[in-house]
Amino acid sequence: MAGRVIAIRAWPGIGAAAFVAALILGTLLAVALRAEAGRGLGPSEWAALRFTVSQALWSAGLSVLLAVPVARALARRRFIGRRLFISLLGVPFILPVIVAVLGLLAVFGRSGIVNSALRWAELPEISIYGFHGVVLAHVFFNLPLATRLILQGWQQVPAERFRLAAQLGFGSKDMWRIIEAPMLRRVVPQSFAVIFALCISSFAVALTLGGGPKATTVELAIYQAFRFDFDLGRAALLSCLQLVMVGAAALLALKLSDRDGFGAGLDRPVLRWDADTAPKVALDTCVILCAAVFLLVPLSLVVLDGIAGLAQLPRQVWQAAWVSVLVSLASTGIMVALALPIAIASSSRHRWLEAVALLGIAASPLVIGTGLFLIIYPIANPFSVAFPVTALVNAVMALPFALRMLIGPVRDVVQDYGRLSGSLDIKGWAWMRLVLLPRVRGALGFSCGLTAALSMGDLGVIALFADPERATLPLQMYRLMGSYRMEAASGAALLLLCLSFGLFWAFDRGGRGHAEA
């Protein structure tokens, strides 16, 4: 019985969601209105759609499936470096695509570690290129994110429940049935939807690792419509299809996920009594080691590769780095301003708001960028608004992840402390400051970190609005590559990695409560 909760007002959240929807649909509309008669969708577009959906289903499914044991192992083990490891989990997700792909290829590619070892052992080599390569790369990107989202589910279970479970002598199965399965039912469908949405708009990864035009995604078809045929109508139509797919996934996830929280605890440190048997320790250790190797080896290779290039970085790259940091901080601020109201509103009656926000990652960046360009061009010089626009779009893109992290904790606060807040007449800013923010600090810190890092690494719409004097770091990195300066580009990638991770870590760390200690 949630009761009437007086502290909550829904209209700021509805307003924020409407703003996001207007941005996404408005840009789409702007592109569609500008279109001349095109040829519509042909068989090749439908084939692209099929491929897109199937790779996204596999990628999201595997990411979530593998993330469950990793998250469980991290939830019930304490080891030196655990904090750092959990932070590092954010990294693959925030790397620029090309950097991450090169990192993966350094492991799984034709001259990567794995094939070198196989050659040495005179075993047949493996090829990463193909459908499995696409899925592998998407799992590499998204497994860490899924792990964090699901780990949070575990951490939201109050220590008191585990104590009770231990008291009742729960075995693994009981623990699973009574505590873990219901928690996962609540967390997994939504995590799946977020990752599915992310994979829907994948393009460069799918094409590069897919090994050829078989791996044509809808986003590539949009690219083709836009630059090969200049068929804006088809581009808008295809972008619509992306939105429909993601919208459907989001609504399904909302339906599937349970809405009950676990009630409040007293913020006692979580101690687990259920997992100290040797086989479980061995299992968890093994899971964590596998995840660490899978995620960290490609990253280490990116780092090693970049060290030599770091010394060659020209001045412009450092300037771009500074610009990128500012843009990403602005992005983070915008994200918080959008995400908190939406999370608050959707914690009571308006759960569908989260689905609206999910459209942000589903929308094609090319279409959003073009649409914004069309909207802004008549009223202002696109260059003069390049940074605000980039910060805004990056914030909207990061919004779904932030919401996924925030909605659960916010809902718990509302359910568990809504009546107490109401009876004490704590509302408005005082409620935000004294009740909400301290209780969702961890989730908020992670969301901010993710947004900042994501914004750092995103090429996004800046490419359409960029002006030579003021480029962001990823853009400068691509320019270095485009001028044959691959080594300097690796250095820039490393700088980008360090800055992204630094921002992510600072925010994430700032938000950590007891639960991760």
């Binding site: 590069t208 590539l220 500012l326 605000p388 004097e469």
Partner: protein
């Protein structure tokens, strides 16, 4: 909100110098990058024009044209620099360009006469490989070999489209079977040139689709002679990059001046070691040392702008078909 202040500051700075005429040139992104020709070109032209040359980067050649179509006649651009021959027909069709008055002794392998577009550099597409690798000498040999190649997607990349037209021009109706033969040599297809070249340098493939001039970069800038281009006996497809003046420009004289400047030594001498292409008019002092080591194809292939539009749709269908098996 610091960036806003920053943006406003920049805006103010722009208004302050508004008295000097501004020539706005839209070009592709790597031209304006600090490592491209942009900065030197700007300096050289501003030294003689008494104007402010504003180079604006907009993606690559195809994105540039798309951008222009979006802006239409209201565009701020006075000159567009960086379209290639495959885009010329579509660019002409927009009706946004006006005739130029430039005459020059082009050192292009083909005759150039176009009333609207002035060439500023050119190159040949080629597969780049390790210097010591015994490379095949045509596409059929390549298809029969075990060599692995990385290419770019014609739908998202200029070199990718060049390769498509190369095979089509060299083999005509046979093109599809050539692509079917190449299918098992293609490691993967990338979104753009940078990705493909990066994969090649990381050892993912034996050869990568690039330009005959690519080894010059490694030789001159890195003193590394380990890369070479494979010479193909069916000829090499050309890329000629051009610039044109917009009819709606309010700086017609400056635009004309810029196009004329573009074919002088001051501009042309910058091109080889910044854009890593051949200059459209070889400067007096000749090409930089190192360019003489590059292969020079015996035969130059080029689909005329008028034909390119028709050919590419059919060629794309064949390519998709052959590589999607």
């Amino acid at each position: 909100m610091k960036y806003l202040a920053f943006a406003t500051g920049m805006l103010a700075a722009t208004t302050a110098i508004a008295e000097t005429p501004v020539l706005t040139v839209y070009t592709y992104d790597s031209f304006v990058s600090n490592w491209g020709p942009g900065p030197s070109v700007e300096k050289a032209f501003e030294a003689q024009c008494g104007c402010d040359l504003k180079l604006v980067g907009a993606g690559d050649g195809a994105a540039l044209l798309a951008r222009l179509k979006l802006e239409g006649a209201r565009s701020d651009a006075d000159v567009v620099l960086g379209l290639d021959t495959n885009l010329v027909a579509a660019a002409r069709e927009t009706g946004l360009f006006s005739d130029h008055s430039v005459t020059a002794e082009y050192t292009l392998p083909i005759e150039w006469s176009d009333s609207q577009f002035v060439p500023f550099d050119w190159g040949y597409f080629a597969f780049v490989k390790a210097a010591e690798l015994e490379a095949p000498t045509n596409f059929k040999d390549l298809a029969d070999s075990d060599l692995k190649i990385v290419i770019q997607d014609p739908r998202s990349s200029t070199p990718g489209l060049g390769l498509l037209l190369w095979v089509k021009e060299a083999y005509g109706d046979e093109a599809k079977s050539v692509w079917e033969g190449l299918a098992d040599n293609v490691v993967t297809v990338t979104k753009g040139w940078s990705e493909a070249y990066g994969l090649f340098l990381d050892g993912e493939a034996d050869m990568v689709l690039s330009y005959t001039t690519s080894p010059a970069y490694h030789l001159i800038a890195e003193e590394d002679a380990s890369k070479a281009a494979a010479a193909f006996d069916e000829g090499h497809y050309m890329q000629i990059e051009v610039a044109g003046k917009l009819a709606a420009s309010d700086q017609q004289d400056l635009a004309d001046q810029f196009l004329a400047f573009m074919v002088t030594d001051d501009f042309q001498a910058i091109i080889p070691t910044t854009n890593w292409m051949y200059p459209a008019v070889t400067p007096k002092e000749g090409l930089p040392k190192g360019f003489e080591t590059l292969i020079t194809p015996e035969k130059s292939l080029l689909v005329s702008p008028e034909k390119a539009d028709m050919v590419r749709d059919a060629a794309l269908a064949e390519w998709l078909d052959a590589l999607s098996q």
